[in-house]
Amino acid sequence: MTSTNSTGEPALRIENLDKYYGTFQALRGINLSVQRGEKIVVCGPSGSGKSTMIRCINRLEQHNGGRIVVLGTELNDDVGNIDEIRREVGMVFQHFNLFPHMTVLENCMISPMIVRKQPRAQAEATARHYLEKVRIPEQAMKYPSQLSGGQQQRVAIARALCMQPQIMLFDEPTSALDPEMVSEVLDVMVTLASEGMTMICVTHEMGFARRVADRVLFMDGGEILEEAPPDEFFTSSRNERTRQFLSQVLGH
């Protein structure tokens, strides 16, 4: 896989993506191309299909039409491809989804050990390295329920990073957090961005978008209505709906 995409192949290519829930069309002809190292922020009103789109990228949802090519591998019915893509794509959820019956360290070690077949010592070293990086090395032996929301979300990020993915997906990582914990999670994400990770973030944190995004997407009704660099997006948006949305989000 790695040999085929070394040249001009983007990290992610989505063409004419359609997604239906029963008869309801959640995504309509989405087109998106993300280069390696690029940071994309996706925003839009509730129900616009943001989660659906990024969940299609690692097959948590199955798309009904169009193509998704991740790191040169097409996401289709081939089970091998799906496994390969999930190994290379990390995801962070709104509600953390840590495994409550494992310690923080075990949460971070389990996947490298059973999916990547790393020896225990190596997996533990990696886990401790990333826990250090998200600034909670001292919590390694605790259980998730003993941590604050912000700490849990940082563990979730560390857990995803332990698989050493090439792309990271974030689905509203801060919207379930108390306001004072938002920044500690965003700081970790900014650091990650500065190290060149390819990132796709669904978030309404516009400050974060301004600071790290290469491009901001605006979605509504299952479509991408606008796609622009942040300064352009925030100042001179052409689209009426985007301006309306921005005034609501930035309004207070």
């Binding site: 019915d77 081939d78 089970v79 091998g80 799906i82």
Partner: protein, 387 residues
């Protein structure tokens, strides 16, 4: 080929076909082998045997039964026996369970202790052991000649003899229906006419309905009374045997007692759970309105508790119905025992097992349907109380 196997859709289809196919194949193979084996023993498969006479007797039947009767009639008798034993057991168990359950939720420490002891003992001993125990006790009772007597009841090793009205069986059945109507009718009226009349009037209508039904029962009994006999027929010793009254065979009595006691211990826990689920807030609110403790119980705690326990109670009743199959341990001809005897005598194994499954499926489904209806009715009432 390999890449085809890696395809998720192909895989899913293959898995489903394999799973369903292998199960179907196993069942089919079993049936084919069984038919061949049975044919070797000279048994032709098919349901023709239902119309042949059985050649053996049943020891308990509410319908007339002789060894000349065909199999289908025996199956019917079996089903009715199961339903009859089940209903008697179910009613007795509910009475026992309610009393013990109320004792367990009472504010009196002694009553609670008594209730708890009962539940702990009878819940933790297998039902079949209790059946054996009661059967041994009853069959070791004195012979009719030296029977225990109490209030006209006779306890003997040949069964329990109870006084019985001197009426024809048709009249008795009709009177039973009327008594049931006296119970069901007011409840039904209370539901359907709830919005139409004010409460006082509704009460009167309900009472009137019950009274009319009971009067009907009395009239039927009076009319159906066998000429020149006393109203109640008391069992009494005549020569070596007991005459008169109604004989409850030891097998039936054993099972009814065992199911009542064992089932009662389970129902007691359900009743307790139901009352526990009624929040203290509701009770306090009612008390603060100045309602008497009795009215709080009948108007608030009981309806709410009933609603909470009904679904679990339904499961328990289904279980009790199935427990009648213990009949085979003491030789009571319930549905299952009839099936087992049929297999023994006629060899129509597959057909009999099929009938057994269909019978229990039908019993389960109809019980579930009845309880769903009651559940809906009660749930409605509960909402009104909350609102």
């Amino acid at each position: 080929m390999v890449s085809l196997l890696r395809n998720q859709k192909v895989r899913n289809a293959l898995l489903q076909v394999l799973y369903v196919g292998s199960i179907a194949a196993m069942v089919l193979a079993g049936i084919v082998i069984a038919r061949r084996n049975l044919a070797d023993q000279g048994i032709t498969s098919g349901f023709d045997f239902l119309f042949k006479s059985t050649g053996w007797d049943v020891n308990f039947s509410l319908l007339p039964a002789t060894a000349n009767d065909p199999y289908w009639w025996y199956f019917l008798i079996g089903i009715i026996n199961t339903l009859f034993l089940g209903s008697v057991g179910l009613i007795l168990a509910t009475i026992v369970g309610t009393i013990v359950g109320l004792a367990r939720t009472s504010s009196n420490d002694l009553a609670r202790l008594l209730g708890r002891t009962y539940v702990d003992i009878f819940r933790n001993i297998p039902l079949i052991l209790q059946v054996f125990f009661w059967y041994a006790i009853i069959t070791h009772l004195p012979t009719p000649r030296s029977a225990h007597e109490a209030w006209g009841f006779l306890l003997t090793s040949r069964g329990l003899y109870i006084p019985f009205p001197n009426v024809g069986s048709a009249a008795f059945a009709a009177a039973t229906v009327a008594v049931i109507a006296a119970i069901v009718l007011p409840a039904w009226l209370g539901r359907t006419s709830r919005l139409a009349q004010p409460i006082g009037q509704r009460r009167a209508i309900q009472l009137a309905a019950a009274a009319v039904a009971l009067a009907c029962a009395a009239i039927i009994l009076a009319l159906g009374r066998l000429p020149d006999t006393p109203l109640l027929d008391f069992p009494a010793l005549q020569g070596l045997n007991l005459r008169g009254g109604l004989r409850i065979p030891p097998e039936f009595a054993t099972l009814a007692i065992a199911i009542a006691i064992y089932g009662g211990s389970y129902i007691a826990e359900i009743v307790r759970g139901g009352f526990k689920s009624v929040g203290t807030g509701q009770v306090e609110a009612a008390l603060s309105l100045g309602l008497s403790p009795w009215r709080v119980f009948t108007l608030v705690r009981l309806p709410l508790a009933l609603r909470a326990m009904l679904p679990i109670l339904a499961n328990q009743y289904v279980w009790l119905m199935k427990a009648t199959t213990m009949g085979i341990a003491v030789g009571f001809t319930d549905f299952f025992m009839i099936v087992a005897l049929t297999i023994n005598h006629s060899g129509q194994t597959l057909e009999a097992i099929g009938i057994l499954m269909a019978g229990f499926l039908a019993i389960n489904l109809s019980l579930a349907a009845v309880f769903n209806r009651i559940n809906k009715a009660i749930a409605l009432k509960g909402n009104q109380l909350r609102g």
